[in-house]
């Protein structure tokens, strides 16, 4: 892993149009870096939930579960990429699945950059200053959405309106995927239950 690879996301987040263009056509985005960003984000959220200051930490320590964060970050990430890919393939998008994944991951960089220091600082603030904590965190969130928007536009070579429409459609598709997934699971459950009851019927009949 070269230093340049690591420096590139920092370039992307301040010069998104330029950066995402380079990512797509100069092949500067790396899958490994995308993975690193994701892992760092998951760790950041875990640390934030566990170690942010008492005044801003409203989590019930009895129910904190680090494995859950994978569920809340990795799963939506994969769903988003799959959903987006499914929609844009039908709507003349130029992005490939790998490009979509790297773009989305790179767009998450501001969250990683902001969460660590705010978590640290939150241990030294009072109630009145806690609004800065929330302000910075929501600022990072907005920054992420802006980057995602620009990234999607560049990757698929869309107009602004089409990007917004496809992004909204992606959310709908995500819901459909979740629905189908649950359907499959419950069907499998039913089948297993059916086989089980047949099995019991047989053994109790001698």
């Amino acid at each position: 892993m070269k230093v340049e690879w690591l420096r590139f996301p920092l370039h992307v987040i301040v010069r998104p149009f330029d950066g995402f263009w380079d990512m797509k056509y100069e092949k500067k985005g790396k899958g490994l870096v995308a993975l690193l960003i994701l892992v760092l984000l998951i760790v950041a959220v875990i640390i934030q939930k566990q170690f942010s200051g008492f005044l801003v930490n409203f989590n019930d320590p009895r129910y904190l579960n680090s494995i859950d964060e994978f569920k809340y970050i990795l799963l939506p990430f994969i769903l988003w990429c799959l959903g987006n890919w499914s929609v844009t393939t039908l709507l003349d998008g130029e992005g490939r699945l790998k490009e979509i994944m790297i773009t989305t991951a790179y767009a998450l960089t501001p969250l990683v950059l902001v969460y660590y220091p705010t978590t640290l600082v939150s241990n030294f603030i009072t109630n009145e200053e806690s609004s800065f904590f929330y302000l910075l965190n929501s600022f990072a969130g907005l920054w992420f959405i802006w980057l995602l928007f620009v990234g999607m536009m560049t990757v698929h070579q869309y107009t602004a309106t089409k990007t917004i429409v496809t992004m909204l459609l992606t959310i709908v598709v995500m819901a459909i995927i979740v629905f189908l997934g649950m359907l499959v699971f419950s069907l499998i459950q039913q089948i297993i239950g059916f086989i089980y009851s047949i099995y019991y019927e047989l053994i109790f009949r001698n």
Binding site: L55, D60, T126
Partner: protein, 487 residues
């Protein structure tokens, strides 16, 4: 096998020994709990234990028949309003019968009560009885002589078909009478000392939810006429504190404010600084046999600003402090001593609590346990401003119940006052009190910075100088590289 036999022997010994212990140490027929910060009902030691029950039979005057109200007066007497027998039973604070008031002399004519629902006794012993079916309020001197009768009020603001059916009442120091009346939604009816109607105080507000509102919007006039009206609920009971503020309860399933403290100008001024609303149970099943919010039918203002409310639905007694923190809960539905069929009234006699069970026609007396009286004592000390003395009592409470958030916060507040900020922070954190923690932390932080001002400034200066130097070096190198590239 052998260990098992040992266990049996051990169990037998334990049973024998515990059998010798006083009955007082027996477990209560209910399970006490308190709500923690996350609204879980956490088991708690019992604050009050049932000690005895009093029926009409034990007093030797025949059983109570659907008694409706009870009042413990300042002179030590306890009055029970025996609705079914249309009489008032007077006892002393040791539950010894004093006398029975079955009627009074009304201008030479013998008069009595007809299904009276509510009663109040002033400090001088004057009795106020809501004589419900006779549609009047009867005022008797302490010796049973008639002092006055308040009849249906006459006023321009009352509708012509207004019916005066008094249910519950209370009286302030200026002898103004506050009457909860059946079928009146405008609030509590207020009379002055000579029985003239003054007006209404305290109204329950109606808050239709969005669904109701939308439903009404899209229904025809005929449909709307058939719908349930959005009228405010009536109050279920009243009490008065030493400052003359009326405490009132109402049974409104959707309300988060079923307990109100009504100021003389009619505003609700109850303090609700606790983690959750003052409404009895906050965690309950929505549906089913035992589902739904608490139905508060009585409120009793106790010493040190505490007040107890009685939930007739699940037969529980909730006690709050002046700031609206739930202190303890006890009681329950059932057949044993300490559980009720249909509790209707609660009174406090000193530190003891008495509950009138209408369904079973008896009074149940509760005595505080070590835990309960420690809490009462600490609250009283805190209310008195003696926070430092309260700390010791709170520590005692914590020994009996280490889940008691209010104790942690109480200790923290005292430490905060003594400027022991670091310790205060620890206790506020244990009590999950973020607001006070912030105050303590702010002071602590200032203290630390002040103490280490020299070091802090040195560190900051060194960091600033170092980064400036680094920047200069980097710029110098870069420029040199550029020059060498060009050259």
């Amino acid at each position: 096998m052998r260990s098992r036999r040992m266990l049996i022997v051990l169990a037998a010994i334990v049973m024998l020994v515990s059998g010798a212990a006083p009955a007082y140490a027996a477990s209560a027929p209910y399970e006490s709990y308190n709500y923690n910060y996350w609204r879980d009902a956490v088991p708690s030691p019992e604050a009050y234990m049932p000690s005895r029950s009093i029926t009409g039979e034990t007093l030797g005057i025949g059983n109570f028949l659907e008694p409706s109200d009870m009042y413990a007066a300042a002179n030590g007497n306890v009055y029970v309003l025996d609705r079914g027998n249309n009489r008032i039973v007077v006892m002393d604070s040791g539950w010894k019968l004093k006398n029975v008031i079955a009627g009074f002399d009304n201008n030479g004519k013998q008069d009595g009560f007809n299904k009276p629902e509510g009663m109040f006794v002033a400090d001088d012993g004057t009795l106020y009885i809501a004589d419900t079916e006779n549609k009047r309020v009867v005022i008797l001197h302490s010796d049973g002589q008639l002092a006055g009768i308040v009849e249906k009020p006459k006023s321009d603001i009352l509708a012509s078909n207004f019916e005066f059916v008094p249910l519950k009442l209370t009286v302030d120091r200026a002898k103004r009478v506050y009457v909860v009346t059946r079928g009146v939604f405008e609030g509590i009816v207020q009379f002055d000392s000579d029985g003239t109607f003054i007006g209404f105080v305290g109204t329950n507000k109606v808050q239709p939810n969005a669904a109701d509102y939308a439903w009404r919007l899209y229904s025809t006039k005929a449909q709307r006429a058939k719908m349930v009206l959005f009228i405010p609920t009536e109050f279920s009971n009243v009490d008065i504190d030493s400052k003359g503020f009326v405490y009132a309860t109402n049974i409104d399933p959707g309300s988060d404010t079923p307990v109100k403290r009504i100021s003389p100008s009619g505003d609700d001024v109850l303090k609700r600084y606790g983690y959750f609303p003052v409404k009895g149970d906050i965690r309950y099943r929505q549906m089913g046999n035992d589902g739904g919010p608490s139905q508060l039918v009585d409120v009793k203002v106790r010493e040190a600003g505490m007040y107890s409310v009685l939930d007739s639905f699940r037969s529980r007694i909730f006690t709050y402090d002046e700031e609206g923190n739930l202190l303890y809960e006890f009681g329950g539905k059932g057949n044993q001593l300490g559980t009720f069929k249909l509790p209707v009234a609660i009174e406090a006699i000193g530190e003891r609590v008495a509950v009138l069970d209408q369904g079973r026609g008896r009074i149940v007396e509760f005595n505080p346990t070590a835990f309960g009286s420690a809490v009462n004592k600490a609250v009283a000390l805190h209310n008195d401003g003696q926070d430092q003395a309260a700390v010791e009592v709170w520590q005692q409470v914590l020994k009996l119940n280490s889940n008691y958030d209010i104790a942690y916060i109480g200790i923290g507040k005292s430490y905060l006052m003594e400027k022991r900020n670091k310790e205060a922070m620890t206790y506020f954190k244990l009590g999950l009190d973020r607001k006070d923690y912030s105050v303590a932390y702010k002071r602590y932080r200032r203290e630390v910075i002040k103490e280490h001002f020299g070091q802090t400034m040195t560190v900051i200066l060194v960091i600033a100088l170092a980064s400036w130097a680094a920047w200069v070096v980097v710029r110098y190198r870069r420029r040199r590289r550029l020059i060498s590239h060009e050259g």
